[in-house]
Symmetry: D2
């Protein structure tokens, strides 16, 4: 089918490519003319502004927005609301907050325009492996877009079927689901990322324990100089903790077991935070997901004010004089 795509960054451009490979017509726009030109050469129809994009599509139109979550996405959705008409559909494939989806959908609905939110997982690997998609919106509209989702999804591939799924919605096995009404798609994607933080932190802590097993402070007989690259590799085979994240870890450690190119300054994006906010709203304990988020916060700080409070208290009750940051540097290898 014919579809407009706005936002031709790494994710957006590859989505266009995967769609075109499977025979879809893509009308593409990005504020960078260069990005548009590049995809034009690969077969897409480039346009110079949103109005041009709307003009190049036929009703009922479908426009996939693939922009950073927040203000840019909101402004684009609103601008599309002014340009599109009755029964057209706006798809937000970015990482928007599910409450923003609900607001966007409500604003568009007043003009008879549909809204579909798509949580899209796949990162830089999506072009090749396909995108795992979690979709929120009205049933009829999600079905209307089904050819697009089917193309973008990874498909069954060589992954073994789950026993007991006979008779269930096959879309899940193809790599996309209609999760529920507007917001549900991004909500599920949000929790997906929350889990991702937790999984990553579990591996991170485990490897830290392995690597620090050679510490001088330990009794000599219990000190091991472990090869974390080989350990990551062996766990990929037949072990309970094999996973794609472990595959990536094994690859990074094979390059350099000390990971000396990395400082350990770890960003977080909105989804991890929103997941915790959602857990709190639901009164669901989420100790692991939260600890994983906090580890990232902490990784970006030299010292926290809280730690200074601790030092001040210790001096207050015990006369303990703090060791300086020089000492801290020595510990930096951990």
């Amino acid at each position: 089918m014919k579809i407009g795509v706005i936002g031709l960054g790494r994710m957006g451009a590859n989505i266009v490519r995967r769609l075109m490979r499977d025979g879809h017509d893509c009308v593409v726009f990005d504020k960078s003319a260069e990005s548009v030109e590049k995809l034009e050469k690969e077969g897409a129809t480039g346009v110079r502004d949103l109005a041009g994009l709307v003009k190049a599509l036929e009703p009922p139109r479908s426009v996939w927005v693939m922009l950073p979550a927040g203000q840019v996405t909101s402004e684009t959705v609103d601008a599309l609301g002014d340009l599109l008409g009755q029964d057209d559909v706006v798809i937000d494939g970015g990482n928007s907050f599910y409450r923003d989806d609900i607001a966007h959908a409500a604003r568009l609905k007043r003009k008879g325009i549909h809204f579909v939110d798509v949580g899209t997982s796949g990162g830089v690997w999506g072009l090749e492996r396909g995108y795992c998609m979690m979709i929120g919106g009205d049933d009829a509209i999600v079905w209307r877009l089904d050819p697009v989702f089917r193309t973008l999804a990874p498909g069954r591939g060589e992954i073994e079927p789950t026993p007991g799924r006979e008779g269930r919605d096959e879309r899940a096995e193809l790599g996309y689901i209609h999760a529920g009404p507007n917001g549900a798609g991004h909500f599920v994607k949000m929790v997906h990322n929350g889990i991702e933080y937790g999984l990553m932190q579990a591996y991170a802590e485990g490897f830290a324990i392995l690597r620090n097993r050679c510490a001088d402070a330990l009794p000599e007989a219990e000190r091991y100089d472990l090869d974390v690259a080989d350990i990551a590799e062996v766990w990929r085979r037949g072990s309970v903790i094999s996973s794609w994240l472990l595959d990536l870890t094994a690859a990074a450690l094979a390059r350099d077991g000390a990971l000396s190119d990395y400082s350990g300054y770890v960003e977080d994006s909105g989804e991890g935070r929103w997941t915790i906010n959602a857990a709190i709203e639901e009164a669901v304990p989420a100790d692991v997901l939260t600890a994983a988020l906090y580890a990232r916060f902490r990784s970006r700080l030299d010292h926290t004010f809280g730690e200074k409070i601790l030092s001040a208290m210790r001096q207050g009750f015990g006369g303990h004089v703090e060791q300086g940051p020089a000492a801290a540097k020595q510990g930096g290898g951990a």
Copy 2:
């Protein structure tokens, strides 16, 4: 090669089967005569006691002990120490504490007997998928046993090779590693299980957040009735959090999305605890692995004394009268 195997439970029996399938001779013993007979019918040589086992092997003998960690294993290792001779080797393939390995190795060494500790992952799937093994011991002895490890390991299979591993120890790619001196094998396996707890808890919390999204306490527009079985399934394809543990979760949820057959009473074994002890010894923060362990502790309690302390304090400073356990039951579905 010829090898003795002691302990024919689920793991031990399947290890014997996988060894025999590949042409190894197995002399087997278990305190249950029935277990011995069963494997005799499948081609193993059964014996009636440890002395018989030692007699049925030729020096230098190899004896694989596959028993519950702790006292039983210790006693068996010591008994073998009395029966075996110079240059024989005892292999502990169970889940022993790495400090016990160090002690066992030292006691056997005095008699000229070698000791090898093997952390063995694979569970009920090992016969078919192979066992991921982490090995501690002297280099020469580990090489002597290599035919056994090569048979038990999963092998390369269809798992994509990790880029950058050219020229490295190929054993890791076959599914087993020589991690270091005695204890190192079980130490690595211990951390493996610690990570396993963390990964499991990350998924558990995420699915709990999804499932509780229909709670009445939430604003109606933000309430979603999500199909957790389909969500687990879709995440198996092209998503960052795909893993074997997720495959298992998808299978369980496909059977029953409410998991009503489970009460949520979750055991833990020694490895998870020892991992935290090791982290503390090394002064490595392990927030996620610890929270995962504590969630299991808590799952087995009705209420903690600590929670009663909280209620008592709240009554003390605020006159808050506690809601009864009746209310708690209502929350039980979460």
Copy 3:
């Protein structure tokens, strides 16, 4: 000075009493006529509705709202906005969310009415001990209300002065502060309650470790049957962890060291949750405050869905059959 007070629950009624004791005139209103009558007998001027309350005060009027946070408070503030006039002031002494304060203040400002938010700590003990108050609003208005705050605050009492405070705002030493603009008062109170959760949980966990030291699973020589009531008492004297919360714990344990009257079902109010949300917004790690909140969530659940996920996974990879809830009950005494 003359002041109106709306909401005569435990906190509101005692605030009126403490104000009257010190010579202030109180005009009081509550939806319960009985509550109004009771305070009339003690010397307050009772009124039958908000209009009557406004009428009974002279401009510039001061009205203290002491109602449950959320809708009731918002509606009352808005209703007062319709009744009060230029330069009057509405004080919200409840536990409102600081963002609601900002909205309330903005709405009142359009009508020339001032707004002051007061986080009020003191619980059932405030009448006797005084109220610790954290105030947000414009400087001039906070000073206008100073006689009220001075009366309600605990005052210097017998608490030893903090060295180094010479020349600083003496109000902090009297037990109230002007924290900042609107919302700042309730923000500080919110963090106060967040800390409170953390402190309580620290004691709770410690006492649980003490009480479970007699567990059968421990080696006999390391099993102690500790008297937690005496322990709480002794820590009140000369120890680093003495506090008012410990005093309350000691009193509860002196009544019954097993706390058998409590089930351990622990409520949480908004402040604990908002504190975590604030930490996340600021990217400040708050592991302890969050764990304390989650312990309360967990205390109100029979089992979590996440725990069932764990059991299902364990059965999947290891064939582990879950022990039933019967076993869980046995653990209930912990």
Copy 4:
């Protein structure tokens, strides 16, 4: 009574002083002759070695050991075992591990010598405020030493009696308890310190949230420039979270609200770690106490290996290029 004291550091010397003030005879020894001389001038009997100390006392002798936990204490206890006789008693007032107590007591018992373990809280303030003591040992011996404990303890002071304690062991109200058999004293002190870590971290996180409320990343209307010194001060009066630790925090913040003299490098001693080990042995969830310990571990590291693992994974699946440590430094003020 007459008592020997070994170890005249800050704690030991003040214990001697408090004992002498109340009329006890102290025979003192320290490897530093200067420390011995100093106390001789204040009225103690100085000796030059352990043998001299034993000689200067009359049977049944009492010797209080006040040395760093671990090897020094063990060696001294063993040396005293060689010098003392039947019915003499060794008191370990340091921070020894409770399992060491059990071993020490067993070794001394073989020679007819008694052992008493005393967890001693009071820090640099003990001379003036008295020491809170938690005692393990045989009943008769603990009573024999009662005059010493009674002198060292803070006594009732001006602390309000706990209602409901009528008829209970009055020693708790004087500031010392006989907790149980050997090891029980140090066990209770250990948990005391574990709780201390948790309380400290709760305050630390709360103050960090307050101080970071002026962060540029927040919406302007919700940004507050809070005076943490005044906030700490006001919470000392009438608030639920008043405590001695808060008093100390208020004093530190009154000197410098930014705590710029501290780097935030926070040591931990054995007790915090042992408390977590004990919780794990008992299968008691201790999320808060553990998180507090880990925050200290993390405070001493520049970056963890785990954080590098996270960065490597993020690059692997998302192509995320890590921001450098330069950026981390900017965040250092938090």
